[in-house]
Every structure is written in structure tokens, then in C-alpha cells.
Symmetry: C2
Subunit: 348 residues, 2 copies
Amino acid sequence: MITNSYYAQEGHGPFELHEIGDLDLEDGGTIRACKLAIAMHGKLNAAKDNAILVPTWYSGTSKIIEQVFIGKGRALDPDNYFIVVVNQIGSGLSTSPHNTPDGMANFPKVRISDDVRAQHRLLTGKFGLASLALVVVGSMGAQQTYEWAVRYPDMVRRAAPIAGTAKSTDHFRVFLDTMSDTITSDPALNGGNFRQSSDVAAGLKRHARLWAVMGWSTEFYQQGRPAALGFPTADAFVDNFMAGYFAPMDPNDLLCMAWKCQHNDVSRITRGNLPQALGRIQAKTFVMPVDHDMFFRPRDCEAEQKLIPGSEFRRLHSIDGHLALFGTDPAFLAQVDKHLSELLATRA
Amino acid sequence: MITNSYYAQEGHGPFELHEIGDLDLEDGGTIRACKLAIAMHGKLNAAKDNAILVPTWYSGTSKIIEQVFIGKGRALDPDNYFIVVVNQIGSGLSTSPHNTPDGMANFPKVRISDDVRAQHRLLTGKFGLASLALVVVGSMGAQQTYEWAVRYPDMVRRAAPIAGTAKSTDHFRVFLDTMSDTITSDPALNGGNFRQSSDVAAGLKRHARLWAVMGWSTEFYQQGRPAALGFPTADAFVDNFMAGYFAPMDPNDLLCMAWKCQHNDVSRITRGNLPQALGRIQAKTFVMPVDHDMFFRPRDCEAEQKLIPGSEFRRLHSIDGHLALFGTDPAFLAQVDKHLSELLATRA
């Protein structure tokens, strides 16, 4: 356990911690008194049918979700919906290696399905929800969105996985090995038993650089987006924006999420049969890849979309690639809002 | 200096070592008694107008060039041409950190332009060549092809840069930082003063993994190419084919080539004016990117092509991406041969 002020209310709040009891994990082990950090926007209506669940992505928290996707006049409008943003296990806000006694080097392996079962327990048990108007968001949030729609098909009325897949591809799995390498190669990680994140600064810097290569796109650099975002050179962008973003984060928390992300596979519930798993989905689903995404190619997302009954393929355009999710491209956000508004207007 | 049997005649020969004298380098320093390892195929004709120069790419030697591109009935046919494959400085065969006394941690920075000047000295001085029918090959070989055509425009009659650019893009430069990170992060590198390559096995393994991510393509994995190449899983492909390929190489040699590759820029000769540099080219030039290449996007290559007088854009198709250069896709090689045969048939 370690004190890391990065994850405090000051930077990421307001959020509430809800304990959901002990969580037995799919790969063995138990998280005792598992806590989920949630941020809420808007009010649940009397019919309890206006709830939207938004999970979080790798390294992100409820704060960036709020900043990028939620607001008056947006598709996710707190005036119309009760929006619950649930920080994933390992996010640093919910139960995570860094905030668990003796958890740092010994935190168990957590799967996307563990998160989704934990969220289900919270939403049904504590909030009494029986139905979700929408589950939505990008990247690892898309992984959770797919898992929700497959695992609890009669609870999810609409689903919008953005920039993510229902099952990690081989290419993405190899990338995540490479990504974990950037951190685990740092001797200062000390098997997870470092004293503070800054001990692992070299590994976190390498990690940031790799994200600079794969997170954006070749076009992002060619068309001078770093300069447009205020950085005189690509190197300044990498050294300041990217490295600065990851530097304060907890390396064990990142590795926990990386393993989870790598092993994502909705077809575990159907013993590896992906068409059968995706065929379970009852939600009206918009599959929304980003065209310059170097991880989740539109063609791969479309192959999954075709296995989802009644689903639609909605391709998003941004040279910011995967990290358009950061909200750096207003035109991208306008596309997201247009599709989500249309999806929310669909009877489901 | 280190003995590394990987670079011996047994694996990469036959090749000849030619000393070209002392080579003063653009970034300072001198390579004393610089040796270039060359492999020759076919005979120089009486008019001395049938010579083809083929440089080498990152980590590759004259052997893979021969295996992939040269042969009876191929565009590069030894019956018709005098084909000279020149191993680049740092390749492990020519003068390189590992085979230079006191060179390991102290080898000077070498630029593409240094290689091209060294090759020019060899071809004009030793072989008496005044004209090249073609300069061709891929990746760092394309960088040298561009440099030749820009630096010695009246000597290069035809040029075919495959899967490479005349100036490294920002994205590619950041990638190469990340790539060098995989090796320099290994404490066993010991500032370049390791005892043998296997000391740096962990770094070389990470380096291989990153190449597995960026060297091929997402489609390569999605369409099961690792299995088609004889590996049951993507992990087996990475652990055996990719890691096995790089494991015996010299880390200092790789880092020497990586720096050179990263700093590639033909416009240094025109003080940063890329249109002016590419405008110098007199060679009939076919610019040949590969459509799934994750480094050198066809769009980026086309932007350069438009600056080259009389050039043509010939896009190659292969889901093997950049590493189609390994010769793993016969259909790719057929396309290369078709374009090169057409180029060689052009009056120039």
C-alpha cells in the first residue's frame, strides 16, 4: 500500500466509494471488501429507466469521462439521464494494487468480467436498477460494454462500444506484452515493491513513448497535431504531454489494467465461441471504431459487429486515432454525440 | 571488439571486404580504414552500364537481399546485370561497433549520407563505375536509395525506394526512440560494454516483440499469417521467429543502425528544403510503399513522390506490411518484380 496523491478527490473528484463486499475472481483469489469509485451525474427517474453506465478506460478515471463526454446539451446530458461512471478495478480510484494493504506485488489477476460482475452487483443491489438505457464508452470501456451486453443481455437496452473490440486480437495482445515490458524492464519496479511511482520514472517514460507511437496515428504527426495542441515539436509533445500524463500514475495499477485489457474475451462465457457470445446481445448496438486507430482497426470491429443481431456499424473519423478519446478533436466529439443521440432516440 | 559468429561467411557469405580508406563522418569523427562488405552477382559489361546497387536494411545483410530479390528470371537477374549488394556501416558485416577495436561503446554516429559517400567512393574508385542502371531496395535501403539519387543525381539512372521515405517522419522518429529503449533499458547493455550479445538477451527479446507489433500489420495476425508461416500461435511466432531472428545480433550494431535510420533526411544537403532536395533527382523513380506498412504510410510516400520530377507512384499490396521485405509473401515479390522489370525497361 502506498500513498499517491494523484488519485485523490482534488484531481479526480468528486467521486464516492461504494463497498460491494468480497469479490471472488474468475482466475482465482478474492478481493476483500471491494470498493468501486463512482461519479454520478443527473437523477434517476421514478421509472428507473434513464440510467446510463459509463465504465473507464486504461489509465483514465471518471474525471476525463466527465470532461470529454458528459454535459448539458451533449448526448450524455445530466438533465435527461442518470449517468453513473464506474472506475474500473485497478484504476487507482477503485480497489487497486496501490491502495490495497499488501496489494502492490500481490494483487490478483482481474478480468473484464470481474469488473462487470462487480458493477452489476453495485447497480442492481445498491441502486436497484433492473435496466440500463445505455452502456457506453471507449477502449477498455468498450471491452466492458461488450461484456455487459453479452453477460446481462436482458439488462442492457443499448450499447455503444467505441474504439474497442469484444475480444482482444493477437496483434493487440502482442502490443500489450510490449507495453508491459516498458515498465517491468525497469529494475526499480523491484517486482512491484517500489516505494513511490517516481522510482519507476524511467519505465513510465518508456511507457509514455510507446503510447505516443501507437496511441495516436502517423497522420496525427504528419499533419502537425502536436503543434496544434501547443507543443513546438513532436519530442516536446512526447516529453511533456505524454510523459507528464503517465508519470504520476502507479505502475502496479497500470500493469493490473494492462493484463485485464490483454485477456479481454467475451467468448469465455460460451467456451470460446465468439459468434454465440455476440449472438446473445439484445441491446441495440452501435459499433463505433475510429478510422486511424492503430489498435482497433475498423475492419476488425466490423467483423464483430456483423455477429451482433440488429447492430449498426458507425465509423468515426479522426486523425487523432485511438486517443481521440482524450477529447482533443472537437469534430470527433461531435460525431460521437450525433451517433449516441440517435442511438438513445431508438426505442429499445 | 567482440567475436560474434553470427556475422561470419557461413551464415551471410559469400561476401568480400573492401577497404575504402578513412571515412570522415558528417557528424564528426572518422572511421579509420573503413571496410565495406559486398556481395556481387553477375558481370559488369564492357560499357559499364549494367550495374545495379542494392544497399541493405536494418538488421539485414546481403544474404537476405540475395534470397529475396536476386535470381535467374527475376527482375534483378545476374544474367543481365552486375548487381552489387553493399552492407551498410553498422550492419555487422561492414565496419560496425562490434568489429571495431574500442568501437563498442565508442563508435561514432553514422548517417545515411556517410554510407552513401562510402559506397560512392567504392563504386567509382575501385570499380570505375560512372553510372548506375538502378539503385533499389526497401526500408533503410530506400533511405540510401533516396540519398544516392539526391546526392549523385547524374550517376543514378533509375531509383526504386521500397517501403521507405526520403526523410524520417516525426512518428517514425518517436518509434525509433521506443525501439532503442527496448535495448538501452537493459542494464546488461552496460553502456555498450557487454561481453556477448546473449548478455543483452532480455533487451533483444523486447526489441523483437516491438518489431512483431510494428513490423507486420494488424491484418497479418487477424488473417492467421503466423500459422501459415508454421507457428501454431502468435506467441510462438513472436518467441521463436522474431526473437530467434534478433537474438544473435549485436546490440551496439543495432543501435548504430537505429540512430542512422532515425536521423535520415535527404534535405540536409539543401539546408532543410525537401522540395529542393527531391527536385535534384534525375533518376527515373518508382516510389513503392506497401499498403499495410505501419511505419511508411503510402500517403506519406506519395507526398514525397510528388516532389520528384517524372516519378511514378507504385503501391504494393501485402498484409505482411513492412516486413513483406522478408519475402514471406510470394504475391508481394511478384509485384516488386513486375514494377522493377518495367522500370529497368524504361530508357534512362
